[in-house]
């Protein structure tokens, strides 16, 4: 079941993404409404992170396209923010919490300009929102996993975007913090911002999200939570891989080049 949004912030048109010539996401096609908290659900290896990366232009889709605010990604870069998975960087990097959060302002700052007082204030305010004010000068390798996750969140907040894409931002975060952060995300959506969150826990997802995207190598469902979270669709999402799809992937992988590229 795929329910289309009216005047969508994000439109994905028949997108197929391959890694090393193996399609990991087949023909995904949906639209997302603005001002909502949107969850991306699916089993491990369902292509959730790939979906986010493809939207952000970090992986090149082999077919289809993405439109954000009805424009191409390059035109609206500064209005989109991204929270990557914690494991994607080396936390031994010589930087303090504040240094990392200020990085969120670099996009608007432009070449040659240095972050100044204003950027520092923005960063401090963002840290305050995620409850990390006490750790401003802490070296990032000395944080716990959940704290590192919150630093990444603060960095995205410092960017002050309209669309936020977050890849597993709650991995390693304790229940109490998770609840506070969800409150924060809710407040943001009330201000008209759209927040897309890759999430692994279906129970908390039911509590917090307004809209759900369910993936399992292909799009199983997309729509308002109470319409798409049905027993049948959940079984389709979590009930193992599609045999036929895996076979097609295998055929594609065995070609000497990627036949899905145009």
């Amino acid at each position: 079941m795929i329910i289309q949004a009216e005047s969508p912030v994000l439109e994905i048109h028949d997108m197929t993404v391959s890694y090393d010539q193996s399609p990991v996401l087949w023909n995904v096609d949906f639209t997302l409404p603005s001002g909502q908290l949107i969850g991306v659900l699916g089993p491990n290896g369902a292509g959730k992170s790939t979906l986010i990366k493809a939207i952000m232009g970090l992986v090149e889709p082999s077919g289809g396209y993405v439109k954000v605010f009805d424009r191409s990604l390059a035109e609206v870069r500064s209005r989109i923010s991204y929270v990557p998975q914690r494991e994607s960087v080396d936390w031994n990097f010589p930087a303090s919490v504040l240094d990392v959060v200020i990085m969120g302002t670099y996009g608007k700052l432009g070449l040659f300009k240095r972050p100044g007082k204003r950027e520092k204030e923005v960063a401090l305010a963002s840290l305050d929102q995620v409850g990390m004010s006490a750790f401003v000068n802490r070296q990032i390798s000395e944080l716990s996993g959940g704290q590192q996750q919150r630093v990444f969140l603060a960095r995205a907040l410092a960017q002050d975007a309209d669309l936020y894409l977050m890849d597993e931002p709650f991995a390693g975060v304790d229940m109490a913090t998770e609840a506070t952060i969800f409150e924060l995300l809710k407040r943001m959506t009330k201000e008209g911002k759209t927040v897309v969150v890759v999430h692994h826990d279906i129970y908390s997802a039911m509590t917090y999200f307004d809209w759900m995207i369910m993936l399992n190598l292909h799009l199983v469902a997309s729509g308002p939570k109470n319409q798409v979270v049905t027993e049948e669709l959940l079984r389709k999402t979590y009930g193992g891989k599609l045999n036929l799809l895996s076979k097609v992937s295998e055929i594609v992988r065995k070609q000497d080049f990627n036949p899905l590229e145009s």
């Binding site: 952000m56 870069r77 994607s88 010589p94 670099y106 996009g107 390798s141």
Partner: protein
């Protein structure tokens, strides 16, 4: 001890080179590209030799251009092997630099009769000759030691590059994908850094030799990284280490009657291993204390 002008010049030049290499090396290390730096510094050799042949001397701009081109060519070959030929990264680096370096050695041997290019000088450098290698203008005016000027120019460009692109370099080193997401030209920054590394390699080869440049590129940043937790202290300590290595290297080489460049690297190595010994152990205890929080 009276002021020894020659010693001062050598140490000054050595420090300038060590700092230029170290500053670039910090970013190479943080990008986990130290071995690419090593590869570039080997790979520029044929460019140096060809430039030398075209210009007829080591002083020509052709040498710098030749080496710069080869440095960029090396990164392009590595990329081509990886993406088009699908060879794994470590092997791509290994194949590329050994081939280019081998070609360089062959060219030196082929042209040995035609040009006055000393294999030893290109490979190991001879910083000791700086005071007598003067820059003389066409009209015969003596302006001072040529290599020191080159090192100063190189240092100015490297420092300027890092000053102006500090935030882009830092961000793309830490989290390249976030960088491209917020619209920072990661590829351009990367190519610029590689070009600076090749240029620095060439500019320094006469003094410390093509092979030993890599030591200055890699070891001071790695040593400083063991002691620091933030970018600014890391950069400052790398700079201080560059100067300390030059001073100690010079006097120890004098004492043992050995190659100055080689001694600088040996000093760097001793400092590195000592730091690893001290910080390596304390890291373990720090690790457990973090786990206990």
């Amino acid at each position: 001890m009276s002021f020894d002008q020659n010693a001062f010049l050598i140490i000054l030049t050595g420090s300038l080179i060590a700092i230029s290499c170290g500053l670039l090396g910090v970013f190479m290390m943080l990008r986990k590209m130290s071995m690419t730096g090593d590869a570039i510094s080997h790979a520029v050799l044929p460019g140096i030799v060809i430039g030398f042949f075209v210009a007829g001397s080591q002083r020509g701009i052709e040498v710098i251009i030749g080496a710069g081109l080869l440095g960029i060519l090396a990164t392009l070959i590595i990329d081509w092997l990886r993406q088009k030929a699908r060879v794994q990264l470590d092997a791509s680096i290994g194949i590329t630099f050994t081939l280019l370096f081998a070609i360089g050695i062959i060219l030196i041997n082929m042209l040995a009769n035609n040009v006055d290019l000393d294999q030893e000088c290109v490979l190991y450098g001879e910083i000791a000759y700086i005071p007598i290698d003067l820059w003389i203008t066409g009209s015969g005016a003596v302006l001072g030691p040529r290599i020191t000027y080159l090192a100063l120019l190189n240092f100015t460009l490297v420092a300027g590059f890092i000053y102006f692109f500090f935030k882009e370099l830092t961000l793309t080193s830490f989290d390249e994908s976030f960088g491209s997401v917020i619209g920072i030209p990661s590829k351009g920054i990367n190519l610029a850094l590689m070009s600076m590394v090749s240029y620095t390699t060439v500019s320094s080869f006469e003094a410390v030799g093509a092979i030993l440049v890599v030591a200055l590129l890699v070891v001071p940043p790695a040593t400083a990284f063991l002691w620091t937790k933030n970018m600014m202290p890391l950069i400052k300590l790398t700079t201080v280490l560059g100067i300390a290595i030059s001073i100690l290297g010079y006097y120890l080489a004098y004492l043992f009657d050995s190659s100055i460049a080689g001694m600088m690297v040996s000093v760097a190595g001793v400092l590195f291993l000592l730091s690893a010994l001290i910080k390596g152990r304390s890291r373990k205890s720090a690790g457990t204390s973090i786990a206990n929080i």
